[in-house]
Amino acid sequence: MYWKFVFKRIIYGILMYSLMVLIYSTLFNAVADKTLRSQIDESVNQEMRFVRTTNGDEFSRIRAQKLAIKTKQYHLDEPLHQRIFWRTVRTLAFDFGNSTIIKSSGGDRQVSAIIMEALPRTIILFSLQVVLAVVLGVIMGLYAARRPNSPFDRFNTMITLVMNGMPVWWLGMIAIMLFAYNIPIFPSGGMHINPAPTGFAGFLDYLWHLALPLITLTFVSMWSIAYLSRNIFLSSLQEDYVMAARARGIPEARVLFGHTLRTSMPVIMTIAVLGLFSSIAGNIIVEGIFNWPGIGNLYFVAVQQSDVPVLMATLAFQTLINMAGFIILDVIYGFLDPRIKVGMRA
C-alpha cells in the first residue's frame, strides 16, 4: 500500500515536471529558435570552408543541402507546436545540447558540463549556510521560547521582522564594503586568489573566500528560523506532557532538549530539508554580488548573454530539484503519518 503511494507520488511529480518544462519550452521557443538557426548557419559555414569547388551554383547547392540536413536534424522545418514538443522531450531526456556563448572553465560547450561545474560550488556554499542557520536558529528559538516576552525574545522578534524585508544582497554589499574594503579581512569576491594555490593552502584560501558570503547568508536566514522555531517550541511547551514532565521534577534542560526539541523536530527538519533543496538552486543575486561562480551566477550570465540552452537547462534543473524536495518530503511524511496518503486523493 505504501509503495503504491510512493509510486503514484513520483509519477505525479514527473507529470508535473513535464508540464512545467513544456511551459518553459513555450516561453523560450521564440528566442531559442533564433539562436539555434544562427548556430546551424555558423556550423554550415565552417563546413563549407573545406568544400573545394569553383562552381558558384554547385557551392550554393551543397550549402543549401547541408543546411536542410541540419534544419531537419534540429526539427526546425517543423511547425511551432512540434518544435515546442521536441524541445520539451529533449529537456526531459536531459539532452540540453550545446551552449551558444558560455563555456566551462575547460572550454567545454556542453550545457550539462557547464552546469556540473557550477553545481558543487553552489551546493557547498548554500547547504553549509542552511545547516549553520538551522543550528543557530533552533538554539536561539529555544532560548526565546523558554522565556517568552523576555528582552531576548522581543529583540529576536524585532530583528526577525526587520530582517524579513531586508534584501540579502544588500547586506552582502554592506558586508563587502565593511569587511573587504574598510577593514580588509576578507576578499571582496571570487572563489580563490589568482593563481589558485594547491593542496592545503588552496583549501585554506577556499575557506577564506567562502567565509564572507557564508556569514552573510547565515546571519540573514537564522533569524527567521529562530522566530519560526520559537513559535513551534512555544506551542509544544504548552502541551500537557511538558507540564507533566516538569511536575515530575525532570531537570529543565532535559525538558527542553529531550521533550520539547524532540517532538518539534519533524517540523524543523521540514524547514531544513526544504531549505537545503531550494538552496541548491542557488541565489542569483547573492552569487553575483560575491562573484561566486555557482548556478545562480551561471543563470544570470545566461540571461545577460541570452544563452537559451543554458537558461533552459538551469531553469529546468532548479525546478527538478524543487520538485524532488517536495516528493521526498511527501514520501517521508507518508511513511510517518498514514493519513497523508489519503490526502493524495483530494
Binding site: M173, Y299, S306, N322
Partner: protein
C-alpha cells in the same frame, strides 16, 4: 449586517488592535510613509526630480559622488559644503549713454570655513538677449579679482553658466602673480584648478599646498541690462563642494536624499496594489475551489502546485527579459506567483466554513453560489486576508528591488532597487561610497518592517494562542 453593527465591530477591533504596541508602531510608520509618499516629492531639495531623475542636465550643478554634509562633523579636515546662493543684494545704477541701459550689481556673500576650497563655483544667469557681464571675486583679505568678463548671449530656455574652473584660469594666475610672485612662476594655466587657488591663502603658502583662506567671500556679478529685462533676469551661484546634502550625491551628481524620498511613492504603490491583487486572487481562488469543488477544485489545486514549484526570481527575470521591462508587467508577474502564498491556508479554512450551518441555511433559502461565496464566506476570511496581505508586502518590495538590481526594472520610474542598481553597477561598493548604498537598502528594510509589524499584530489578534504562555 447593518452599518451600525459594522461600526461596532470596527470599534471592537480597534480596541484590541490599539493594545498591540507593534501594530501601533507599524501604523505610525505607515502613516509617515503615506504622507511622505504624497507630499514628499514637494519637500525634497530638488522638487522636479520625479520627472528628471535620469536627466543629466538637471543635476549638473551638483558635485560628483560627495558624501553627506554631516560627515564634516567627524572629519578633522572638513570639505566645503555644496549649496546654492540665491537672493543676492541688487544695486541698480544708470549707465551713461542714452539712458536705456542699467548696470545691475548682484552681490552674493559666502561665508567660507572649510579647510580646502570648493570644487567649483558656478554662476548661473537666466535672462534674454545680449548682455555684457563682469564678475568680481572679493576675498576676505581685501583682494579683489575680476574673474570673468564677456558678452553673453542669453536665451530664455537655458541657464547660462560661468564656471570658475573653466573660465577663470587667467584670473587665478593673475592673483598668484600679484600676491606671491615666487609661486606663480611654475603655474601652468592649463592644469591648475582655479577654484582651489582663488579660495586659498596664496600669500603665506605655495600653491601646491593649497591652504584655504577662511572668511567671508563676496561675489559681485554686474550685468548691463536693458531696463525692461531687469525683472526677467535672475542670477544665482552654485557652490559645488566636497560634501553635499543630507545623503550625499551619486556618480551622476544626483541627490540621494531626493531619490530615497521620491522612491517611497512607488514602493507604496507597488507593495499595496500588488499585495491587494495577490491576496484577492488567492482568496477568491481558494474559496471557489473549496466551495464549488469538483473539476474546478482539482484544476485550481494543480495550478497552485504548478505555481508553487516554479522558481520565482528566475522566472521573473526571464519574463522581464522577454517583455519590455515595465512596472505593470512586473506587478502582473508577481501577482501570478504570489497568490499561491495565501491559497492553502484559506482553502482549508473555507473547507471548514463550507460545513457551517448558516451556509447550509443560506443555500436552503436559495442563495446563489456567488452570493454565498462573496457575502458569506469572503467576509469571514477578510481579517485573515488583511494579515497575509500586510505580511506579503516586504517580499514584494524585495522582489521588485531584486529585479531592478539586475537591471530589468522600469526605467520610467524611480525605485530604491534602481538606485541600488546604479550604485552596484557604478562601483559604489568598490569605492566605499556607503552613502549611496546604505539609505535605499535601509528604506527597503524599514518599509518591509512597517508591513511586517502590521501583519504580525493582526496575526496576534487573530491567533491569540501564541501570544504568551
Amino acid at each position: 449586517m447593518s452599518s451600525d453593527n459594522k461600526f461596532k465591530a470596527l470599534a471592537d477591533f480597534w480596541r484590541t488592535f490599539s493594545k498591540v504596541r507593534m501594530g501601533i508602531a507599524g501604523l505610525v510608520l505607515l502613516g509617515i510613509f503615506v504622507v511622505l509618499g504624497i507630499i514628499g516629492p514637494l519637500l525634497v531639495p530638488f522638487p522636479d526630480a520625479l520627472s528628471h531623475w535620469r536627466d543629466i542636465n538637471y543635476w549638473q550643478d551638483n558635485p560628483v559622488a560627495s558624501p553627506p554634509a554631516w560627515t564634516n562633523w567627524f572629519n578633522p579636515r572638513p570639505g566645503a559644503s555644496s549649496q546654492v546662493l540665491t537672493a543676492p543684494k541688487i544695486k541698480q545704477e544708470e549707465y551713461p549713454g542714452d539712458g536705456s541701459l542699467v548696470k545691475v550689481d548682484y552681490t552674493f556673500s559666502y561665508p567660507f570655513s572649510a579647510t580646502s576650497g570648493p570644487r567649483d563655483v558656478v554662476f548661473r544667469i537666466a535672462g534674454d538677449g545680449q548682455v555684457p557681464i563682469l564678475i568680481d571675486f572679493r576675498r576676505p583679505d581685501g583682494g579683489a579679482i575680476e574673474v570673468y568678463r564677456d558678452q553673453l548671449s542669453l536665451s530664455k530656455s537655458q541657464l547660462f553658466r560661468v564656471s570658475l574652473n573653466y573660465n577663470s584660469q587667467a584670473a587665478a594666475v593673475e592673483l598668484v602673480r600679484n600676491e606671491n610672485p615666487d609661486a606663480a612662476a611654475d603655474l601652468n594655466p592649463a592644469t591648475i584648478r582655479p577654484a582651489q587657488i582663488l579660495f586659498s591663502d596664496v600669500r603665506k603658502h605655495t600653491v601646491q599646498e593649497n591652504v584655504a583662506l577662511k572668511g567671508d567671500y563676496t561675489f559681485v556679478v554686474s550685468l548691463l541690462l536693458a531696463k525692461e529685462s531687469i525683472r526677467t533676469t535672475e542670477v544665482s551661484v552654485g557652490i559645488s563642494g566636497y560634501v553635499s546634502g543630507f545623503m550625499g550625491t551619486d556618480i551622476s551628481k544626483r541627490d540621494i536624499f531626493t531619490g530615497v524620498i521620491i522612491g517611497i511613492r512607488w514602493a507604496l504603490i507597488l507593495g499595496l496594489l500588488t499585495s491587494m491583487l495577490t491576496v484577492l486572487v488567492g482568496v477568491t481562488f481558494a474559496i471557489v475551489a473549496a466551495y464549488v469543488g469538483g473539476a474546478i477544485d482539482w484544476f485550481l489545486n494543480r495550478l497552485y502546485e504548478l505555481v508553487y514549484l516554479m522558481p520565482v526570481l528566475p522566472f521573473l527575470i526571464v519574463t522581464s527579459a522577454i517583455f519590455k521591462p515595465s512596472i505593470w508587467t512586473l506587478i502582473i508577474m508577481i501577482c501570478l506567483f504570489f497568490w499561491s502564498g495565501v491559497f492553502k491556508p484559506v482553502y482549508s479554512m473555507a473547507l471548514q466554513i463550507k460545513q457551517e450551518v448558516f451556509i447550509e441555511a443560506s443555500r436552503a433559502l436559495g442563495a446563489s453560489k456567488a452570493r454565498i461565496i462573496f457575502s458569506h464566506i469572503f467576509p469571514i476570511l477578510l481579517p485573515y486576508s488583511f494579515a497575509s496581505m500586510a505580511l506579503s508586502v516586504p517580499a514584494i518590495i524585495v522582489y521588485e528591488a531584486s529585479v531592478s538590481l539586475l537591471g530589468l526594472g522600469d526605467a520610467t520610474i524611480v525605485t530604491w532597487g534602481q538606485i541600488l542598481h546604479d550604485a552596484f553597477v557604478q562601483g559604489a561598493v568598490i569605492n566605499n561610497m556607503w552613502w549611496w548604498v546604505v539609505p535605499p537598502g535601509l528604506m527597503i528594510a524599514l518599509m518591509g518592517a512597517t508591513f511586517a509589524f502590521l501583519g504580525t499584530a493582526l496575526d496576534k489578534i487573530l491567533h491569540p494562542k501564541l501570544k504568551t504562555r
